[in-house]
């Protein structure tokens, strides 16, 4: 009897996992072999996908980048005894990439079947809610405060303070809203978690509802993530059928229900107030703050808005305790962060580690440099609004404050690598163009500034002489200043980050010489 584990993650499938699973089933039937194929989540070792794992007495052995035409040769060797094959990577959990990680949030990644509540419970699921149910509302909030958890969506606001604010607000109806509008290029941790471990998010939201006194939750998922939406909806039905959602979720008569709402292709809806507008059925225009969503959020009611990973961190904080959670990380960045290696990278994937490892460790020890084999030119950290970081700054620890000190930000933890085939002058132009395309239009610096930004960068890149370049550069600096300080939200406010970091660190891509940029 042979047990195979093949991911059902949408990206694993996009590189052939479904076809491989089908071929294993067909070939095994032809050979009259007794095999079980378990479709799991992905380990997040995307450079190995489709990664097929096999139960052996020593643990799960892996076979990398399997294609359907290699299935027959794999079945020729004794897989159950960790048989040798060209595609063998040995025991998966011994791979340095995985072994050196601190998988707290993604402890079940690649191991369990996403929609198996049985698997979830067998691997620590719902222990957090069980513990939370024994505490008072204020004790739960105090635990989250004590853990030092900060919002993982990008703004890194202390979660406990938000929880306390919503808890203390007086209202008939409160809401928990999960921001799953993961639109940053280079980010896929939310997608992996929703597709791979949906009950963890449901449990986190349920605890949040219990703590702040909310009986309804919404998960707002971008429409590009159709498989995640389908998995979540099914998981919600399963949880409800087993009493984990509904009229009494924690044996104390507390009601909690979750509804999944699908976005409609608007990057700005990742901004929390714009997201709330969208859930309310309107254009996703940004709201001015204050009032804070914690007091005046969805449908005008107190609302706890959190990113997927923030909410998914809560069950562990409850079951293991805040003081345990605080053991991970450094300074004011506590716990683990799901870093994501993407773009032109040799070993792209998910790296969950405590805050504090350096960008160099992430890019080289895990990522292995570029996929093209050429030197790494720069890394864009934190999505389209994040700075381009040159190799000279790779020793910066990945911690909110340390990154802010070099004018960068961690954002949602995505790191996009590039080599010299990427022209950072063009990428600066792209940043402005993206902002123009995705601006909600409410504030002028973002709506008009982004379009003017595209034009100024085009003139800068085409400037015939250094005097003209200098004039356009000054204009661009001025425009960036206006956008940064005058915009209503982070879209207009942070688009200058990739633009100015590119100009500062890669002046040659703008036709500027090093002396021109040294200021």
């Amino acid at each position: 009897m042979l047990t195979l584990y093949i991911p059902m993650d949408s990206v694993a499938c996009a590189v052939g996992a479904d076809a491989v699973a089908a071929e294993f089933a067909t070939e095994a039937a032809r050979r009259k072999l007794d095999i079980t194929i378990v479709r799991t989540s992905s380990r997040g070792l995307f450079w190995l996908e489709p990664l097929v794992e096999v139960d052996t007495p020593q643990g799960r052995a892996g076979y990398r980048e399997v294609s359907p035409d290699q299935v027959a040769s794999l079945l020729d060797v004794d897989l159950a005894a960790n048989g040798d094959h060209l595609l063998s990577v040995g025991l998966v959990e011994q791979l340095p990439y995985l072994k050196t990680q601190q998988r707290l949030l993604f402890a079940r990644a690649g191991i369990t079947s996403p929609l198996s509540l049985e698997h979830y419970l067998a691997h620590g699921g719902y222990q957090g809610l069980e513990h939370a149910a024994r505490l008072s509302h204020d004790e739960i909030v105090a635990e989250v405060l004590e853990s030092g958890l900060r919002g993982r969506g990008g703004a890194a606001f202390p979660a406990g303070i938000k929880w306390r604010t919503v808890r203390q607000a007086q209202a008939e109806q409160k809401y928990v809203v999960c921001n799953a509008d993961e639109g940053d290029s280079g980010s896929f941790a939310d997608r992996m978690l929703m597709e791979g471990d949906p009950f963890l998010l449901i449990e986190g939201m349920t605890i949040a509802g219990l703590a702040v006194g909310a009986s309804r939750g919404y998960i707002y998922v971008r429409s590009e993530y159709a498989p995640a939406i389908a998995v979540l909806r099914e998981a919600i039905d399963i949880a409800r059928a087993h009493g984990y959602l509904g009229a009494d979720v924690a044996h104390g008569g507390h009601e909690f229900e979750i509804e999944v709402r699908e976005g409609a292709g608007a990057y700005i809806c990742g901004e929390e107030t714009s997201l709330l507008e969208s859930v309310e059925g309107r254009r996703g225009t940004v709201r001015a703050k204050p009032p804070l969503p914690a007091l005046h959020g969805l449908f005008g009611q107190p609302t706890l808005v959190h990113n997927v990973l923030s909410l998914a961190s809560v069950p562990l904080i409850m079951s293991r305790g805040a003081s345990w959670y605080r053991n991970f990380g450094m300074g004011r960045s506590l716990g683990t962060m799901a870093f994501q290696l993407a773009g032109n990278v040799r070993r792209g994937g998910l790296v969950e580690r405590a805050f504090g490892l350096t960008l160099r460790e992430l890019v080289f020890d895990y990522g292995g440099g570029t996929a093209s084999g050429k030197p790494v030119k720069a890394v864009q950290l934190g999505g389209p609004l994040g700075a381009w970081i040159p190799p000279s700054q790779f020793d910066t620890p990945l911690d909110y404050e340390a990154l802010a000190a070099i004018g960068a930000m961690l954002g949602h933890g995505g790191a996009v690598l590039c080599d010299d085939s990427l022209h950072l002058g063009q990428m600066a132009r792209f940043a402005m163009q993206f902002c123009a395309e995705e601006s909600c239009g409410k504030c002028t610096p973002c709506r008009i500034g982004s379009t003017r930004g595209v034009e100024v960068i085009e003139r800068l890149l085409a400037a015939p002489d250094s005097a003209e370049r200098e004039r356009q550069r000054a204009l661009l600096d001025d425009l960036c200043d206006t956008m940064q300080y005058g915009s209503l939200c982070a879209l207009g406010g942070m688009t200058p980050f990739p633009v100015q970091s590119a100009m500062r660190h890669f002046p040659a891509d703008f036709g500027l010489d090093t002396q021109e940029q040294a200021r």
């Binding site: 949408s10 995307f46 290029s185 896929f188 590009e224 309107r282």
Partner: protein, 158 residues
């Protein structure tokens, strides 16, 4: 809309009219069933959701996903965000321009395939990525793109 489409619309309006903030789910449902949001459905949608027609138009216009004209037979969404750009998505875009004469937001001369840019499909560790008729494909090379197009009947013109 023909009579059958009218019926479908009425059913959907019944289903979503009382859902709090139900306009987006309703528009998604209409588009899923009818392929687009017909202009003559908007007055009924506005009435059912107790909004002005201008508000409904405003919502449809705001979101990239909603469309008021029928889709082409095949829809190709090529990711143009940073991670895919760093792995050559612009080369794929150029290939589509030269081989099929199709540009962003455009469609082939025979109207069979439309191309839309998309900014991130969450496959950034296996870039570049695209979605063809809703199906995600990653680690896309020029050869793989040609094969995908051939499979949906769009032989690349050389």
């Amino acid at each position: 809309m023909n009579a059958q489409q009218q019926d479908t619309l009425q059913q959907l309006l019944q289903q979503y009219r009382d859902l709090p903030g139900g306009l987006l789910p309703l528009l998604h449902a209409v588009q899923d069933v009818l392929g687009h949001i017909p202009a003559d459905a908007i007055p009924a949608i506005a009435r059912a959701m107790n909004q002005s027609q201008a508000e409904v138009h405003g919502v449809i216009g705001f979101y990239h996903d909603f469309r008021t004209s029928p889709p082409a037979a095949h829809s190709l969404r090529l990711c143009r965000a940073e991670a895919c750009q760093s792995m050559g998505s612009e080369t794929l875009a150029a290939q589509l321009r030269t081989q099929l004469g199709v540009d962003d937001h455009g469609h082939t001369a025979d109207g069979q395939l439309e191309l839309r840019p998309v900014y991130c499909l969450g496959a950034c560790a296996c870039a570049p990525a695209l979605q063809l008729d809703g199906q995600l494909h990653a680690r896309v090379t020029p050869e793989k793109l040609s094969a995908l197009l051939a499979a949906c009947g769009k032989e690349a013109k050389c």
